[in-house]
């Protein structure tokens, strides 16, 4: 057996996958951050979740996630405020479970005029998995750009 083959086949079962849904509006930036952990990373974290309870676990992980993300508007770093935080299991392969962490983050920002928004997510970045970032804008008139360039 060779390692790359062993990893390549069901690699999906070993991944931690990230979605960040950024929403820009004239007065703030919000982010719906979702971290999907496959069977093995879920199993690795299981004892900690059980010891802490899923609610407290979600609050703690979302605080870590917020601290690991960078969001800058016109070069100025914003600090995420963590709103709702949740953690839930779902049935996975082989009788194991997968898990999902959901964090609602927001920060006030001066985005009424065109400006630059820079976003980076370093949360659990050293674990294999995909990274998805979407952005949309609300609260702008039809002549304003849909989101800052």
């Amino acid at each position: 057996m060779i390692v790359p083959l062993a990893l390549a086949d069901p690699l999906g079962n070993f991944t931690v996958n990230h979605h960040n849904g950024l929403r820009l509006s004239p007065g703030r930036v919000a982010n719906l951050a979702v971290v999907d952990a496959a069977e093995l990373p879920t199993l690795q974290e299981q004892a900690e979740v059980a010891a802490r309870g899923p609610r407290a676990h979600a609050v703690r992980r979302c605080a870590e996630l917020a601290a690991a993300q960078t969001v800058r508007v016109d070069g100025r770093a914003l600090r995420w405020r963590v709103g709702a935080a949740s953690f839930a299991y779902a049935p996975g392969q082989g009788g194991l479970r997968t898990s999902r962490l959901t964090c609602v983050l927001s920060a006030p920002a001066a985005l009424a005029r065109p400006g630059s928004v820079v976003f980076a997510d370093a949360y659990l970045a050293d674990r294999p998995g995909w990274q998805e970032i979407t952005r949309w804008a609300t609260g702008y008139g039809s002549r304003a750009p849909p989101c800052p360039p």
């Binding site: 057996m1 390692v3 062993a6 990893l7 069901p10 070993f14 093995l40 009788g95």
Partner: protein, 224 residues
């Protein structure tokens, strides 16, 4: 090899096999250098992090090996890394239970995904689990791939299960090519000893093949 590599990923790709070759050849300083070069070239390069854990284990640095393996499996826990981690834990006087628990999970998802890896489970069950299960896996592996590695796995499983005559037959088959592999030769010596035979030649050959070979870290010595 490095001079032909340009992009960071290329630099990262090359020294890892180069480190692997140096490790297999017993040149641990060189292996460490090659893995360090790969780690510098590609940040978060997992194969070289695993390679450095292996170098620590091969050096007999038990605490260092445990720390390094732990940081590797926290990022990615495939069976091979988990077996090496569990054996490093046990060799350092700790409990391998956490590694075996994760390994059982990895085994279940692999099975559910249709992956057949009888060799890994034959070796794991023989060393750390149920010898009869090891024999079943080893027979299945040997039936598909009757090569020296499978013959050794079957010999060792049979030895653990107490089936001495057949263990000896397959161990001889595994080692008759003249391949100087410390683990296979150590297995043969143990099997000969259990059969009441003279094991000195096999034992000496095992030591000659790798003076650092540690029977508590069989996964580290595996050629696969």
């Amino acid at each position: 090899m490095l001079r032909a590599a340009f992009r960071p990923e290329d630099v990262g790709l090359l020294p890892s096999p180069a480190g692997e070759l140096a490790l297999r050849a017993g040149d641990l300083d060189r292996a460490e250098r090659e893995y360090a070069a790969a780690a510098r070239a590609v940040s978060r390069h997992l194969p070289s992090a695993a390679g450095r854990a292996r170098v620590a284990a091969a050096r007999g640095d038990r605490a260092g090996a445990v720390t390094r393996y732990r940081s590797v499996v926290e990022r990615l826990p495939p069976p091979q890394y988990l077996v090496e981690y569990g054996e490093a834990l046990a060799a350092s006087g700790g409990s391998p239970a956490e590694a075996w628990r994760l390994l059982a999970g990895a085994r279940r998802v692999q099975a559910a995904a249709g992956v057949r890896d009888d060799l890994t489970w034959a070796e794991y069950e023989a060393d750390h689990g149920d010898p009869m299960a090891a024999v079943r896996h080893a027979r299945a592996e040997y039936a598909r791939h009757p090569n020296p590695v499978a013959a050794d796995a079957l010999a060792w499983a049979l030895h653990r299960a107490g089936v001495r005559a057949e263990a000896l037959r397959f161990s001889r088959e595994a080692t008759r090519t003249g391949w100087r592999n410390a683990l296979l030769l150590y297995h043969r010596a143990e099997i000969e000893k259990a059969a009441g035979l003279d094991d000195r030649a096999s034992r000496a050959a095992s030591r000659a093949a790798d003076p650092r070979f540690d029977p508590r870290l069989p996964a580290l010595a595996r050629p696969s």
